[in-house]
Amino acid sequence: MKNIFNYIERESPIHELTGATKLICLVLFSVGGMITFDTRYVACLAIIALLLFRISKIRLNEVSILLKFTLFFMVFNNLVLFVFSPQYGVEIYGTKHVLFGSGRFTVTAEQLFYHLNQMLKCLAMVPIVLLFVCTTNPSEFASSLNKVGVPYSVSYSVALALRYIPDIQLEYHDISRAQQARGIEMSKKENLIKRLKAAAEILIPLILSSMDRIETVSNAMELRGFGKNKKRTWYTANRFRAADIAAIVFCILLVAGAVAHNTLNGGRFWNPFTAG
């Protein structure tokens, strides 16, 4: 449970980028992937994301559990999408090419194309987030936030959260075991209201002790003069290098590409059905 954020230490060009760069690139890449549904563009993003994954030297078997979740999510989400509105693709693309079936669940080429788009998006977004968490040291994360313009008080809150997650997790397990030994029941054997009350039996001691912790930590910080100066330095901060700037410029170009596609297509979707 030590490594909940899946950080994998390794020597690679991606690991060497500063946390701030990776954060900016992640945001830009996500924006690029969010604003357009142009299939060709999203496919390119997916390929770039997979290439970057290769460069980072993270092996697939190191993240295989997470990828299984992705596969499950993709299948499940697309099934739900289809069940809820099987004709959504027709609505978006404005044409109807029936492949087979009839009635409400008629399968159309448009609908399948829409599903293809959604899956490609998933393939573009998942590797890039995974890449970010695998190659960014969590302790550097807070200082990166500060570097990209988040006030240092808020960045410090993030640092505190990361610092106290393992402690609170341990404390939760202790309290939960102790209360279970006293006979509280949270499984399906009890009805919902009783289950929730049982959860509160565990959460109350956990949160009351956390309130004391807040008191102790804030007193300690106050005594050391936290928040006195306008700026603060970070133990884990790194300097920007040429590679960082190159990476950011590349991601800005990606976003520009997405905007260009949207204007050229006259909308967020690329429509192969009317173009030909």
Binding site: S85, V129, S153, L160, D167, I168, R195, I207, S218
Partner: protein, 188 residues
């Protein structure tokens, strides 16, 4: 922006850590198969009621984003729409804090109603409005699906917060020294 007090900064950090642990590791089975109750929203309502709307906003934002990051984005990346909805939920729940005095040890019947009305409004706005609206904008999924998703989450969160959140407030208020509980002894 108003400068945060050190205590608020720490409360945000530890609140987000609690939100994370509850959301990531605490699994209470719900009546719907394969879905768990999100007890973290009861905590969010409580923290917002004690530390105010801005703290609530940041606890929701940081806590939820960290949960998504810890899954490595394996559920289709970071769901920014839901992260923002969690944050706004904390913000609205925190609006009740002005009329409440939990640190002063007061949480009477009127306060319980106030706390719960606020949390219900917050949940309706966030899961019935903000989350699906942003989802339509970002992911272009059919509105019916997104509204159904949001409603399920919203109703679940209202029930959880009503029970866990209220119990937390009661326990915390009881643990605080009551205002005016000390009396000056007059010498005879």
């Amino acid at each position: 922006m108003k400068k945060f007090s050190v205590k608020t900064i720490v409360a945000i950090g530890i609140g987000a850590a609690l939100f994370f642990v509850l959301g990531r590791f605490v699994a209470i089975p719900s009546p719907i198969p394969n879905t768990n109750i999100s007890s973290q929203y009861g905590l969010l309502a409580f923290m917002a009621a004690v530390f105010g709307p801005l703290a609530g906003f940041l606890i929701g934002l940081i806590g939820h984003a960290l949960i998504d990051f810890s899954w490595g984005g394996s559920f289709g990346g970071i769901w920014w729409s839901w992260v923002i909805a969690s944050a706004v939920c904390g913000l609205i729940m925190g609006l009740a804090s002005k009329k409440l005095d939990l640190s002063g040890g007061r949480f009477n019947g009127k306060d319980i109603v106030r706390f719960n009305v606020t949390q219900i409004i917050a949940n309706i706005i966030c899961w019935g409005g903000i989350a699906p609206a942003l989802d339509v904008l970002i992911y272009h999924e059919p509105t019916e699906k997104l509204v159904a998703q949001g409603l399920m989450a919203g109703i679940g969160n209202i029930v959880t917060t009503a029970i866990i959140g209220t119990l937390l407030c009661l326990a915390y208020a009881k643990s605080r020294p009551q205002k005016g509980s000390l009396e000056e002894e007059k010498d005879a």
